[in-house]
């Protein structure tokens, strides 16, 4: 659709070109699909052939067509091109899949660009897929397409070769100012309007807007209401986390501590009349308060390396004297539920833009990804995609965007729980590098509003409000317009141009920069202009096709767009850089108005006018009810498998745990990501000769310095029965992972990403309060400041029968650390026969939420949740870090999911060494069972490999911290515990089994 307002958009003959493998060349896509269909027991097809289809419309003669089909579309060595539609297999069927009108089609855009560059003609192109199923009926073919190939949210499916008579062409429309009658509406009508117009504002917010316009004694215009809805959306302002909360406790179980005692003791926490705790602005007095307290220069040992927190698109910390690092983690859950490929790709794409828009532009140097999905065997309600399809497509989306941008994806994880079936979680993180003196940008009055990158289309309308809604079985239809396909090369070009504009002169060519994310221009320009106002000429935005209303232009979330504040004097230089890089530049208006207003024009016709003060400050802040009901909340404990009889052997249990989806190999995902582009990787996701699970990624961002950055995450959803305990465990795990690779424990920054069910339910609000309070306690105890965070608070799915499936409250903690010298980094694979295995940390038998329990038939009876000791945890981390820094630790691994025995097994097969383990030596209360010693998931524990001659010095460094030698590595190729033994190869095979059939 991209070249649509070229002359070529006049209806013209459309040429169809098919490209398929030549004689004797393997049809990889066809045969892979066939393999998958057969593996899944699918019926029908004997053979499947794939053909790429192109439609070209434009003034093309035969010579042009031959050149295009033979030289441009087909590979002369391995492919053949065919003009027209070839015959349907006589004993089979043909299924074709084509993008719907308006859906981004990068291949088509490439062909249009190439034809223009190579034969100087403007053409319009559409692409499609043709699948020939030999020996399969049409219904079988359609079945395969529906299961593996097509998503009707963005694609059309045809049961025969498809030949469009003409391409859809938008028509310019008459623009008029549209008023929405609001002043006279009663409460019911206000709520009805909010829902029907997809504003997703609650009654109090609608009332506030009504009052504002009654003050102005005029009705709001459509574009003003939309602007308010975008800006006031949960996605953009985190109004729930920032609200005033009244917190009560109904019941405490499973070892959950009470939090009421902190009322009156902690700033912003006061005691209410009936003994409840009132927190004024939850986010400010928990997550943010921890950071500001740690940064308080009046306190001894305060942190001085946080350069920008909570104010920019990403948090920024110091890297060295001249460089800074930033990190941002986003979620893109609802789009990924409906269209996993596009949802995940635009998720990582958007997070990359956040980093590009941090300070005066940072260069993205690493991506992370964490997915929460349902297990393959779950029953799938109507309106949901099968979980295997979701995970494969989500991985493909992250892969294609990250790889094409040239950013290594270096760290991540997957968590399986049936309750993610209708609402999977897709976390995407990005780390950036920028010069220290460019950490802050300031928009200047009189600067031009410059947009770089992609064109604006109707795609992605209402993404911000959609993300604040709740998914139902009809969302795929209702919100298909919120879903998009990205085009990474557009963003790569834009990044190159922006970095050139930042670095080519002695000063950047722009004063400020931000990305177009949720809310599109309305949020980006609104945010940049909030202190000075702006005049926007909407008709100037470059469009993918004609026919958009001014409101659509203003709120479209079309991808790959950045907004810059540029002095008039620098426009020409910036334009030249953009031309060199093939990037579209648009001057959308001017920052600064006399009365600090947002003025939206279309060819001088005023479409809307809003006071910045109301837009930025008019959002009501009601008191939200929060109740902690531990009994009720116990429903969020992981779903335990039906007790299955095992021989009772400890090693059989170990193998079952190694093969568990949460624990087993993710190599099938990791290997699809280019985790080494930019040449910076020092510790990769898979370590050791045979690819064992590393604890954290380590990068060397600068070729001429061995200073490194480490990246890890912590996720403890197994403990979701109490998010306070869960959150502390996640922070502890994130710190453990970073410490194990050699990170300086005094230079760790963390990020919070809440994904919660609807907090309109006071019980979910209660669990959100507990998680937030744990963020405060954990960050202070570990001295790990939060530098950035995000929340997504409506993660539940309502089936057609009206049953609502809530996700377990899920909090991802991402960590960014400094490694003083990457050449001293440590990996988890065991190195040397004869070395000792040292367990650091005290083990107890609180096994609630552990994988051993989920496996079924757990004998241990203590089902309390394992709670981090906020004194011991940080002390242990620092002691272990000191051991590693001393150079006396040859490998280090944290004991997390699956427990100590499993972590030891991973170290052994990672280094292809045998190991003999004495569970009797595990530091713990004498009375606890061997099962608990082996499989309990007590936090704050580490396994270290130490040469015998260094044990003494390690012991001194661990003075005051529970630790013991619990084993010894050897050349036997066996893991031996008690009177049981198993080969290292068998353990590795069990772990790898989780990664097959994907």
């Amino acid at each position: 659709m991209s070249a649509s307002h070229s002359p070529a958009s006049r209806s013209q003959t459309i040429h169809r070109v098919e490209v398929r493998p030549g004689l004797g060349c393997v049809d990889v896509r066809g045969s892979s699909l066939l393999k998958r269909v057969i593996a899944d027991g699918g019926a029908g097809a004997r053979a499947i052939n794939y053909t790429q289809v192109y439609f070209l419309s434009g003034d093309l003669n035969q010579v042009d067509l031959d050149f295009i089909s033979r030289q441009l579309l087909a590979d002369p060595v391995t492919q053949v091109a065919f003009t027209g539609a070839s015959a349907i297999p006589n004993t089979g069927c043909t299924i074709e899949i084509h993008p719907l009108a308006g859906v981004t089609d990068p291949a088509a855009e490439s062909v249009e660009l190439a034809v223009e560059k190579l034969i100087g003609k403007v053409v319009r192109v559409q692409t499609g897929e043709r699948w020939d199923f030999h020996g399969a009926s049409v219904s079988e073919g359609l079945g395969v397409s529906a299961k593996y190939l097509a998503n009707t949210v963005v694609q059309a499916v045809h049961a025969a070769p498809y030949m469009p008579t003409q391409f859809p062409a938008g028509a310019a429309r008459v623009v008029e100012v549209k008023e929405i009658p609001l002043l006279k509406l009663n409460d019911d009508e206000l709520e009805k309007l909010s829902r029907q117009a997809h504003l997703f504002l609650d009654l109090q917010e609608m009332r506030a807007i009504q009052a504002y316009y009654r003050g102005l004694s005029r009705e709001p215009r459509e574009i003003e209401l939309e602007t308010l809805a975008q800006t006031w959306s949960e996605h953009c302002v985190h109004k729930t986390l920032k609200s005033r909360v009244s917190y009560r406790e109904k019941s405490l179980v499973m070892g959950s501590p009470s939090l009421l005692a902190r009322a009156g003791k902690i700033s912003g926490h006061s005691l209410g009349e009936v003994g409840e705790m009132v927190v004024d602005n939850l986010l400010k007095h928990t997550v943010a308060a921890a950071t500001h307290s740690l940064m308080d220069a009046t306190k001894p040992g305060s942190i001085d390396w946080c350069l920008s927190v909570f104010v920019d698109n990403a948090g920024v910390i110091a890297f060295d004297d001249t460089h800074a690092l930033c990190m941002k983690v986003e979620t893109h859950n609802h789009p990924s539920a409906i269209e996993p490929y596009g949802g995940a790709a635009t998720g990582i794409g958007g997070c990359i833009r956040d980093v590009m828009g941090t300070g005066l532009a940072a260069k993205p140097i690493a991506c992370t990804d964490v997915f929460c999905v349902a297990p393959p065997d779950v029953t799938v309600p109507k309106g949901c995609l099968p979980p295997t399809r979701v995970l494969r497509q989500v991985v493909a989306g992250v892969r294609d965007y990250g790889n094409r941008m040239g950013i290594p994806t270096v760290n991540g994880g997957v968590w399986f729980d049936p309750r993610y079936v209708g609402n999977p979680l897709v976390y995407c993180g990005v780390v950036g590098l920028l010069p220290r003196e460019l950490v802050r940008g300031v928009v200047r009055s009189g600067d031009r509003i410059i947009v770089l990158g992609g064109k604006t289309g109707r795609d992605g309308i209402h993404g911000a409000t959609f993300s604040s809604a709740e998914l139902t079985d009809s969302h795929a239809d209702e919100f298909s317009h919120a879903v998009q396909i990205g085009n990474p090369v557009t963003q790569k070009k834009t990044l190159d141009a922006i970095l050139a504009a930042r670095d080519s002169g002695n000063k950047p060519l722009f004063h400020a920069i931000t990305d177009c994310g949720a809310g599109g221009f309305s949020s980006a320009v609104g945010e940049m202009a909030k202190d000075i106002g702006a005049v926007v000429n909407l008709e100037l935005a470059p469009l993918k096709y004609q026919g958009l209303t001014p409101t659509e232009v203003w709120i479209s979330e079309a991808q790959e767009r950045m907004v810059l504040s540029v002095a008039v004097a620098n426009i020409a230089a910036l334009q030249k850089l953009c031309d060199d890089h093939g990037v579209t530049l648009c001057d959308l208006g001017e920052f600064g108005t006399p009365n600090k207003e947002l003025i939206l024009l279309w060819n001088d016709l005023e479409m809307g006018r809003l006071s910045m003060d109301f837009l930025d400050g008019g959002l009501p802040n009601p008191v939200r009810e929060a109740v902690w009901d531990g009994d009720w909340h116990a429903r969020y404990a992981p779903v335990a498998a039906p007790a299955q009889k095992r021989s009772g052997g400890m090693l059989e249990t170990l193998c079952a745990l190694l093969a568990h989806a949460n624990i087993g190999s993710k190599a099938w995902i990791i290997r699809q990501y280019d985790h080494e582009v930019q040449g910076t990787s020092v510790i990769k996701p898979l370590v050791g000769k045979f690819g064992a699970p590393g604890d954290a990624a380590v990068l060397q961002p600068l070729a001429d310095s061995t200073r490194g950055v480490s990246i890890a995450n912590g996720l403890a959803t197994g403990l979701a029965a109490d998010p306070y305990i869960m959150t502390l465990a996640a922070i502890d795990e994130c710190v453990r992972n970073l410490v194990c690779v050699g990170t300086d424990p005094t230079k760790i920054a963390i990020l919070d990403n809440f994904c919660w069910p609807s907090c309109k339910d006071p019980r979910h609000m209660g669990s959100l309060v507990r998680a937030s309070e744990a963020c405060l306690d954990g960050a202070l105890a570990y001295q790990t400041p939060f530098i950035s965070g995000k929340d997504s608070l409506n993660n539940q799915f309502t089936t057609e029968t009206g049953e609502t499936i809530h996700i377990p409250p899920t909090l991802l903690i991402s960590g960014l650390g400094i490694v003083a010298n990457v050449e001293r980094a440590v990996t988890m694979d065991a190195k040397m026969p004869g070395n000792m295995l040292v367990l650091v940390g005290f083990t107890d038998d609180r096994m609630g939420g552990s994988h051993r329990v989920v496996l079924g038939d757990c004998v241990n009876t203590n089902m309390q949740l394992p709670m981090v000791d906020l004194m011991t945890g940080p002390k242990t981390a620092r002691a272990v870090a000191a051991c590693i820094a001393s150079g006396h630790v040859t490998s280090a691994h944290d004991a997390s999911e699956g427990g100590v025995l499993l972590a030891a097994a991973e170290m052994a097969f990672g280094g292809d060494l045998g190991v003999e383990i004495d569970l009797g030596a595990v530091p713990c209360e004498n009375n606890i069972s061997l099962e608990a010693r082996a499989f309990s998931e007590t936090p704050s524990r580490y396994l270290l490999e130490v040469a015998p001659e260094n044990i003494a010095s390690i012991t001194t460094m661990l003075a005051g911290v529970a630790h013991a030698v619990i084993g010894k590595f050897n050349n036997s190729g066996l893991l031996v515990v008690g009177n049981e033994k198993i080969s290292i190869g068998a353990l590795r095979a069990a772990w790898e089994s989780a990664g097959v059939n994907w």
Binding site: V28, D75, K117, G406, V489, E676, V826
Partner: protein, 295 residues
């Protein structure tokens, strides 16, 4: 020896230009990145450089097929300037997307095996033909269908003419190279493959156990008859420091004291141009042309 200038050609979607420049620098050359759009405006810029690199990435998105658009542009706009540089004896390395571009732009496997060789009179003198050869080698979708990132053990055929790899000894099992691509399965016709093998134009192979993309004869990289132009799917520019190796923490200090394999490859080319071997390469060119005429 004054440091030699290395040209790194970039374009929209190219994303391995930085590490390629760093590899040239680590090997003692002086890298400079230039956008293809600028080179097209002034192709003679190429003449200032002693080495050329065509980096990896997803040029122009690789949406039709890897390297397709960039190759068409190179063939049309840059071929004469680059052919002239090669004729002058300028080494050129094309990793990953660069390799995919080079085989479609008529730069690899180069004149002797190219179909239009005999139409060219100039090849007798060892100079490249004025017309870019039609493609005879393709890099197709990996046999496993998916993009794959991993390190493989590699082999260097003893008869290779490639000035980047010839004579490098690969004894240790840690002499590996990283690959990361979705379209790296080398395909060609049997006759071309035989000629390449016989001609010493196979510059690099995956160890038999590591041929993950299903390339014919496990070929990972080839060179032109002069041995100057080296195209390969692996990324030697990503292995210039030992800490980039996938299990460097297992390697002893002694092993890590030597050059990493990737760095050695770049050093070899820099030494080659530094050591004034251009004369020899002219002879090599003549020989290959002669050899070709007699077959």
């Amino acid at each position: 020896m004054k440091s030699l200038k290395a040209l790194v050609i970039t374009a929209p979607g190219i994303n391995c230009d930085l590490e390629l420049s760093q590899a040239f620098a680590a090997a003692g050359a002086k890298p400079e990145s230039i956008l293809l759009s600028r080179l097209i405006r002034n192709p003679t810029l190429v003449d200032q450089f002693a080495l050329i690199g065509l980096p990896g990435g997803f040029s122009y998105g690789d949406d039709i097929a890897a390297g397709r658009i960039m190759a068409a542009l190179m063939r049309r706009e840059m071929y004469p300037a680059i052919a002239a540089a090669i004729t002058r004896g300028t080494p050129m390395i094309c990793p990953c997307n660069g390799f995919q571009i080079a085989v479609q732009a008529g730069l690899l496997p180069g004149p002797t095996t190219s179909t239009n060789l005999h139409s060219s009179t100039s090849s007798k003198s060892g100079a490249w033909p004025n017309l870019a050869a039609a493609p005879t080698v393709a890099l197709s979708t990996n046999i496993g269908e998916r993009f794959h990132d991993g390190w493989t053990c590699v082999e260097i055929p003893s008869n290779t003419k490639c000035i980047w790899t010839r004579g490098l000894s690969l004894k240790q099992d840690c002499d590996m190279l990283p690959s990361a691509h979705g379209e790296g399965r080398l395909m060609t016709d049997v006759k071309t493959l035989e000629t390449l093998e016989k001609n010493g134009q196979i510059a690099l192979r995956y160890a038999a156990k590591d041929n993950f993309n299903g390339s014919m004869n496990a070929v990972a990289g080839i060179c032109d008859p002069s041995g100057l132009v080296f195209g390969l799917m692996p990324h030697p520019e990503r292995f210039t420091r030992w800490t980039q190796h996938p299990w460097w923490t297992r390697l002893c200090a002694h092993t890590r004291s030597g050059d990493a394999l990737g760095l050695s490859i770049f050093k070899q080319a820099v030494a080659f141009v530094g050591g004034g071997e251009q004369a020899q390469i002219q002879i090599a060119n003549r020989e290959s042309a002669h050899h070709n005429n007699t077959t």
